[in-house]
């Protein structure tokens, strides 16, 4: 029921009384923001009609039943740990969804380590889980996604550059592959604000509202989508489902001050993509003898 803040001296992340992120302060400027883990309901079997034959959600098909996602929980139970090098807030949303929000000393990004699963499907509904961040940045229906970690492409909501799009799938029709990063900004002249997420594996992502971006982190679906894989996306077999853990770097910058957004994102993307390797060796030697 308390407001909590963790800081690394460069930025601070503020949590509201429900235990959810409510703002990030960067260089003294407060950027209002909400972030939560949410789920889309999978489309079940038996939805054939005069236009489409049967197309349930499945390994190849992202086709949510409905036009928006639902928060797994509107509250989180917190454990707050602060120290000399890292301060982190552990958020438990449910017994199958939690994340740790970390700020390391000297770093300009926020690390979000999410742990999701096993996804409950006792209600007979497949679920696809996303991490969604919402700000008030007026991005004008534009967002940017990488292409295999190389070129960064402009995307426009409900739009295709080479044909007139008839929007029949308002959510999945705006989803793109995100292999490295996705961001929104309010300025073409690199003078405004930027919100970015850098991911550690290929995920789907979009911006369904101005100032908002989301990345899909886990899926559990109950039907074969008849596109050839021949089985539902429901590992392992009929078992409990998978627990998945991963990391997103959240970058918020209220004023680009002439920097191109990708100049701030690319170092984080390289840090995520080419992390240091570690090896270990036990020793009984003193440091001097060992050295």
């Amino acid at each position: 029921g308390e407001r909590i803040a963790v800081s690394n001296g460069k930025l601070s992340v503020n949590f509201d009384a429900n235990g959810l992120i409510e703002s990030v302060v960067v260089d003294g400027v407060t950027v209002m923001m909400s972030q939560n883990l949410m789920w889309y309901a999978g489309m079940n079997e038996g939805n054939a009609n005069s236009i489409f034959d049967d197309r349930p959600s499945g390994a190849y098909v992202f086709r949510p039943n409905g036009t928006d996602a639902t928060p797994i929980s509107t509250q989180a139970t917190l454990i707050v740990q602060t120290g000399a090098l890292v301060s982190e807030v552990y958020q438990q949303f449910s017994d199958w969804a939690s994340q740790v929000v970390r700020v390391y000393k000297g770093q300009s990004d926020v690390e979000i380590e999410w742990t999701v699963g096993p996804i409950p499907v006792g209600d007979g509904i497949g679920k696809e889980i996303v991490s969604r961040v919402t700000t008030q940045i007026p991005s004008g229906g534009r967002f940017y996604t990488d292409s295999n970690g190389r070129q960064t492409l402009l995307r426009r909501r409900d739009f295709r550059p080479t044909w007139t799009l008839d929007v029949t799938e308002p959510v999945s029709g705006n989803y793109y592959p995100i292999n490295s990063h996705i961001y929104v900004t309010d300025s073409e002249q690199n003078a405004g604000a930027v919100l970015a997420l850098v991911n550690d594996r290929s995920q789907g992502g979009t911006s369904l509202k101005d100032g908002q971006i989301e990345l899909m982190v886990h899926r559990r679906l109950l039907y074969d989508d008849h596109f050839g894989v021949g089985e539902p996306l429901n590992e392992p077999g009929d078992g409990p489902g998978l627990v998945v853990r991963g990391t997103h770097y959240l970058l918020v910058n209220p004023s680009l001050a002439g920097n191109h957004p990708v100049s701030l994102i690319r170092p984080l993307a390289q840090q995520m993509f080419m992390r240091p390797w570690m090896s270990f060796s036990a020793t009984s030697l003193s440091f001097t003898n060992w050295k």
Partner: protein, 195 residues
Amino acid sequence: QNLIDSLRRSMGEAQHHDAVAGTEKEHVSQDYRLRLHDSLVDCQKDVGNSFSQLLPIGSQALPPQEFCLHLNVSQCAITESSSRFVTTVYNPRSHEVTTYVRLPVMNGVYTVLDPDGSELIVQLVPLVNAALRSIETERPKSSATHELVFQAASIPALGHKTFYIVKSSARHGQQHSTITSSRERQSTTVRMAEA
């Protein structure tokens, strides 16, 4: 070369669209994982061999390099069980990097020395307890209670640095007062929501 080619081959296979998108059949995904794991182990052998060739003559008797593939769920047998060990951090990027290292350990007071023998700032972060986080399902084989965090600074491009880590009770002759002050400096303040 065949050790490296093993990983090269399984990574090539994992470029198949269903591996990248995760749309393969379940048993196929298990096969991808098995191949990637086995070839990672092959590569680790090669890295270990190359590393020992970097060491001065006569130090080949040192224990071999070990790798931990479950650091993301705070599981690493050697850091959990050793009171004195070294960790080598290799930077695969083409420019110098500074990164934070997190190692699963047992509770205690630790000293971390960089290659010059300078003592680094260390923080011991408790792992969130089992009650709140279904820990048993996540890391069945780990006895770690904390993560040891320190900054590995200025790792050279395509290079490595080795850090020496000792659990203070193992350092002979250290004064109790020193240990107490180190413990305080390394500690993490924990606040939990009341049930």
